[in-house]
């Protein structure tokens, strides 16, 4: 029960946190009219994943392992590209905002409309298929007399949605400038994790090399199925056993994007500086 709950929580967090930031972003920038489009994207991705999962589970055809990993990996890397674009857009915006200004943002967001929808799609669709297959396996188990796995997984997803909602509430309370700065920072770390995850998927599919050369393996002290490893994986995609290629990709991404982001956001800042973001970053990943 607990184990299945944690899987549901982990898979749910991976999608829900990004969606909650997107929602907060639209609300903060006075673009509530785009919310239906965003929820539409979420619904489409969820629906397609579930339907596709059902088809693969109960239908005559399954998906080859390489194909499944290649989908997850490719979608992850596309998602990273979009999130990165959004991060820089936010950084640029934050810089031009006065801390207390209820600014009606310009047309730049209109251009971002499609991107927001696609991001919502990818946030859910990326892991949607794997989660759907997992849920359908739970449904199959229900028919053989045990509903615990399905209930556990559903509870986990529900908790992840609540957590995402709480985060949204917290984010919306921030003034606009801080909101951009902090959610941007958080997104940098999330995107780096998604990139690392995508790299690992592509390594498993045999598209990228180096699956077995590990940079570190702390799974002995941080069991991957523990609740804290689950949270670390769900939020930042931290894996206790990380390959060199993953580590290199993660480090390269964070060092470049974070530097540019911090410079853009806090550079030439007219407002008082918030706490140094670097401290938060290291705390979040340690």
């Amino acid at each position: 029960m607990v184990a299945n709950f944690l899987i549901g929580l982990r898979e749910g967090l991976e999608a829900a946190l990004v969606v909650s930031i997107l929602v907060a972003y639209l609300v903060k920038t006075g673009r509530r009219d785009l919310l239906p489009a965003l929820w539409g994207g979420v619904a489409v991705a969820g629906g397609v994943s579930l339907a596709f999962g059902a088809l693969l589970t109960f239908g005559p055809k399954g998906l080859s392992f390489e194909a499944q990993e290649a989908i997850g990996g490719t979608l992850s890397i596309v998602a990273v590209g979009l999130i990165t674009w959004m991060i820089f857009w936010m950084a640029k915006t934050a810089r031009h905002l006065k801390a207390d200004l209820q600014h009606k943002l310009d047309d730049a967001i209109a251009a971002g409309k499609g991107a927001v929808v696609v991001m919502a799609l990818l946030a859910v669709g990326r892991e949607g298929l794997e989660t759907a297959l997992f849920l359908w396996a739970g449904a199959q188990a229900t028919s053989t007399g045990t509903s615990a796995p399905l209930v556990g997984a559903a509870l986990g997803i529900a908790v992840s949605v609540v957590a995402a909602w709480l985060m949204y509430r917290g984010a919306v309370r921030l003034d606009l400038r801080r909101f951009f700065a902090w959610t941007g920072l958080f997104l940098v770390l999330v995107a780096a994790g998604v990139l690392s995850y995508g790299v690992h998927d592509l390594q498993e599919a045999g598209i990228l090399p180096g699956l077995s050369s590990l940079a570190f393996d702390v799974s002995a002290s941080i069991p991957p199925s523990s609740w804290y490893a689950t949270l670390a994986k769900g939020i930042f995609n931290f894996t206790p056993a990380t390959t060199w290629l993953q580590l290199v990709a993660w480090t390269a991404y964070v060092s470049v994007v974070l530097t540019v982001f911090v410079r853009t956001t806090w550079g030439r800042s007219p407002a008082p500086k918030p706490t140094a973001p670097a401290a938060v970053a290291s705390a979040a990943t340690s």
Binding site: A3, N4, L6, I7, E11, A37, G40, G41, V44, A45, V48, S49, F52, L56, T57, G59, P60, K61, G62, L63, S64, F65, E66, A67, Q68, A70, I71, T74, L75, K113, G114, A115, V117, V118, L121, L122, G125, L129, E130, F134, A137, G138, Q140, A141, T144, T146, A148, P149, G152, A153, E204, G206, L211, S212, S219, A220, P223, P224, S225, P240
Partner: protein
């Protein structure tokens, strides 16, 4: 981006992989044969697979987590590193299926309760069921199509070769050396493109294409290079100190008629309805052509008197590229990385060659290339040679 376009993109992204499906229903096992539908029970300290062997083809492992911790199940290759297939997130009480197409060989099964470490492993043997396991069921058809295409190409080239050789021989016999020198390299191109085929007919290759330096004791020299030396007579200094004696008219006529005769032999053999050239011969041939380039053309030894090595060079590369192209679909499916590498390196080498001319326009004389240019060509040939040597394994593996 419009919403409908976004939706369409997303659907494509999610539905595209339908092309990469495998049958969920494993084929029926012959009576008494080991099953293709296997069950696995994973617990904290055990990984019980219902059978340690299975026949090649599509296998299904129904993996049930009978433990209290999340587990994963892997099918690993013989080295214990390559992941052939895996299924993750098997929560307690769940059963998840792993469906995989496997070729005969040794594998390892592994359960990873708690998702930690190397897992609980066991050797797993896949016996040969005689069923073809390939990327698709029509690999055999693709190979047959490749063979047909290649044979058509060979026939086309030897057709051009016999016509050109006849013209060349006539000019040479008539004493029109200038015309013969002009036709020499352009005609040989057709020979060099399909040389692996000529080599498969035993004596034809040494009779028509032997180089003076490679002659064995007692072997009479004949063929293209014998005439080449007569058309581009060397100075005594380049001829081991002896004065080169031009061929007499009678010798010329014999040399030219022999060459046409042997070329006609080649044409007849290739056009024989029974002539086939199998996929592995095509892929080996591609490699041989590159080796030819590396050992003969790069060194400038092939056309030591005429210095028309770049024509031969280009022709060998043409032939190798065509051999690869007819097999490309097969390679694309079996090893997309290799296909991408080959495509890229062929392009690199051809680009380099194009800097020195073309078959139609003529090439730079090989003795005018700088050491640096020769080295560049040689490096590009080596870069192509290595992946090309893996072609046969891929082609015969499907």
């Amino acid at each position: 981006m419009s919403r409908s376009r976004v939706g369409a993109l997303a659907l494509v992204a999610l539905v595209l992989p339908l092309a990469a499906c495998v049958d969920n229903d494993p084929g029926p096992a012959a009576s008494g044969a080991p099953e293709r539908a296997l069950t696995v029970s994973s617990t904290q300290d055990a990984c019980d697979v219902s059978s340690a062997t299975a026949p090649s083809g599509t296998l299904t492992f129904a993996v049930t987590n009978d433990g209290s911790d999340v587990t994963e199940f892997y099918l690993l290759g013989e080295d214990g590193l390559r992941v052939v297939s895996e299924v993750e997130n098997i929560g307690p009480g769940l059963t998840r299926d792993l469906v995989v197409q496997v070729r005969p060989g040794t594998y390892y099964t592994a359960c990873k309760p708690g998702m930690v470490g190397d897992g609980i492993r066991a050797e797993f043997t896949v016996t040969d069921s005689g069923e073809a396991v390939g990327p698709t069921g029509d690999a055999a058809e693709q190979l047959a199509a490749a063979e047909d295409q290649y044979v058509a190409y060979v026939k086309d080239q030897v057709g051009a070769l016999i016509a050109g050789t006849q013209e060349f021989a006539d000019a040479y016999k008539a004493g029109d050396d200038e015309k013969a020198r002009e036709l020499y390299a352009a005609t040989r191109v057709h020979w060099e493109r399909v040389e692996p085929v000529a080599e498969s007919f035993g004596d034809l290759d040494p009779l028509t294409d032997a180089r003076e330096a490679d002659l064995e004791d007692g072997q009479t020299w004949s063929g293209w290079h014998y005439i080449e030396k007569d058309l581009w007579p060397p100075l005594a200094a380049d001829n081991g100190g002896t004065e080169y004696v031009p061929l007499t008219d009678a010798e010329r006529t014999k040399a030219a008629d022999d060459l046409v005769g042997w070329t006609q032999d080649l044409v007849d053999q290739v056009n024989d309805p029974a002539f086939t050239f199998e996929a592995f011969q095509i892929s080996n041939g591609a490699k041989e052509l590159l080796d030819e380039v590396a050992t003969g053309k790069v060194t400038g030894e092939e056309e030591i008197w005429s210095h028309t090595d770049l024509w031969d060079f280009q022709a060998n590369v043409d032939g190798a590229r065509l051999a690869y192209e007819v097999l490309e679909d097969v390679v694309e499916e079996a090893d997309p990385d290799l296909a991408a590498t080959l495509t890229e390196r062929f392009a690199a080498l051809e680009g380099l060659l194009a800097e020195h001319g073309s078959v139609e326009e003529g090439f730079t004389s090989y003795d005018e290339l700088t050491a640096q240019q020769v080295k560049e060509l040689s490096t590009a040939v080596d870069a192509l040679s290595e992946p090309l040597s893996r072609l046969t394994a891929v082609v015969t593996g499907v």
